[in-house]
């Protein structure tokens, strides 16, 4: 079973360091995960594939598309960026969002809170990650229905006189 960790186009060294720490690795192994794939983006921390004993570790910075990595994952751990979240939710994968509390004004927290309130994901911070990995109940998550851009298009077409 595979865990895919993504930080999108940003750098989120705290997450990478925390998720490869002994506590988190143990929590993942206890849940039956065998593989850990890290997309580290612009981060300066690039773990050595040998460091996580008990898990097969893969590390990369960017790919043109992470849809294959998402497809093959059984759990996605993501930063709270909208693009990453929507991609994971769109693929109907269990999603654990780690909010970066070092960002200015941290607007990403709003979306994570709302989506957790709607039971589409679970969120935490780096300091609570290992505890969350031990305690989380992924069976409580509900399916996410994608947004409808066609409503926007239809409205705009009428407003500007195209229809």
């Amino acid at each position: 079973k595979t865990v895919f960790v993504t930080v999108g186009t940003t750098s989120f060294d705290d997450l990478i360091v925390t998720v490869t720490s002994n506590e988190c690795v143990k929590a993942l192994i206890d849940r039956g995960y065998t593989d850990l794939v890290l997309q580290v983006g612009r981060g300066s921390v690039v773990p050595d594939p040998e460091i996580c004993s008990g898990l097969t570790l893969q590390v990369f910075r960017f790919k043109d598309s992470i849809s294959e990595d998402i497809r093959q994952a059984d759990l996605i751990i993501s930063h709270a960026g909208a693009g990453s979240c929507l991609e994971a939710l769109g693929a109907n994968k269990p999603l654990l969002v780690v909010v970066n509390d070092k960002l200015m004004d941290n607007h990403q927290l709003e979306l994570a809170k709302q989506l957790q309130a709607d039971s589409h994901l679970i969120y935490c911070t780096c300091s609570t990650l290992s505890q969350t990995l031990k305690d989380m109940d992924l069976s409580l998550l509900t399916t996410y229905t994608p947004g409808e851009p066609q409503n926007f298009a239809y409205f705009l077409d009428k407003a500007i006189g195209l229809v």
């Binding site: 947004g147 298009a153 500007i160 195209l162």
Partner: protein, 217 residues
């Protein structure tokens, strides 16, 4: 000498007053302006960093082929967005007619975590680049979803209307990330956009002028 100064002051005050009145008049009549009635609608699309671009591409994917040509404007330091846009347009070309799109770059108004005071200077620099770009492209619509890059571009678009060159419609779709509070760009453009969309109920309640159609991306 005093007379000359007095006359000059009078002219300046008159010009400023006319300019401010023109802004009010221009902004008030957005809903009556229907560029779609004359044919294809050209759109200037502001692509911000990361998720902003992903969101705007999802919106663009729903628009009909009558929105052309499409002019994408990126910040000069944005590496990722150009690839996403080119991939989107290449995919679109398979189903619609030949792509009519262009890509442009302007200086970034503000980097993430940049201090507010230096942001004023970089925003002014972005505005100076935006004005000639808007004059050249003269889009019917400017579409944006909140990155800092969009404020100077929208300001330049409004300027075109104020000067009587072209009425440019400003369409702002606040990012799906914004549930309870507006982005800084949103707070500014709420008063200037012709169509201002929010994607969550708490914002619809706080900002009565906003249009709410549920989640759009």
């Amino acid at each position: 000498m005093g007379l000359l100064c007095g006359a000059l002051c009078g002219v300046i005050v008159t010009l400023v007053t006319v300019f401010i009145l023109r802004i009010f008049v221009t902004l008030r009549h957005g809903s009556k302006h229907k560029p779609g009635k004359k044919g294809p609608v050209s759109v200037l699309v502001v692509a911000g960093s990361g998720g902003h671009t992903t969101e705007i591409i999802r919106l663009m994917g729903a628009l009909s082929p009558f929105y052309k040509p499409r002019h994408y404007v990126l910040a000069d330091t944005d590496k990722m967005s150009e690839e996403k846009i080119r991939a989107f347009e290449a995919e679109r070309e398979k189903t619609c007619s030949a792509s009519q799109f262009t890509l442009h770059r302007i200086p970034r108004s503000r980097e993430v975590r940049q201090s507010w005071s230096s942001s004023v200077l970089t925003s002014l620099s972005a505005l100076v680049s935006s004005i000639p770009l808007l004059f050249r492209l003269q889009p019917d619509v400017v579409l944006c979803n909140g990155p800092g890059t969009c404020v100077p571009l929208c300001a330049a678009g409004i300027l075109l209307g104020v000067l009587g060159v072209k009425r440019v419609l400003i369409v702002f779709v606040e990012s799906i990330c914004r549930v309870e509070t507006l982005s800084l760009s949103g707070k500014i453009l709420y008063y200037f956009a012709d169509y201002f969309f929010v994607q969550w109920v708490p914002l619809k309640d706080k900002y009565p002028k906003a249009i709410y159609l549920g989640r759009l991306v």
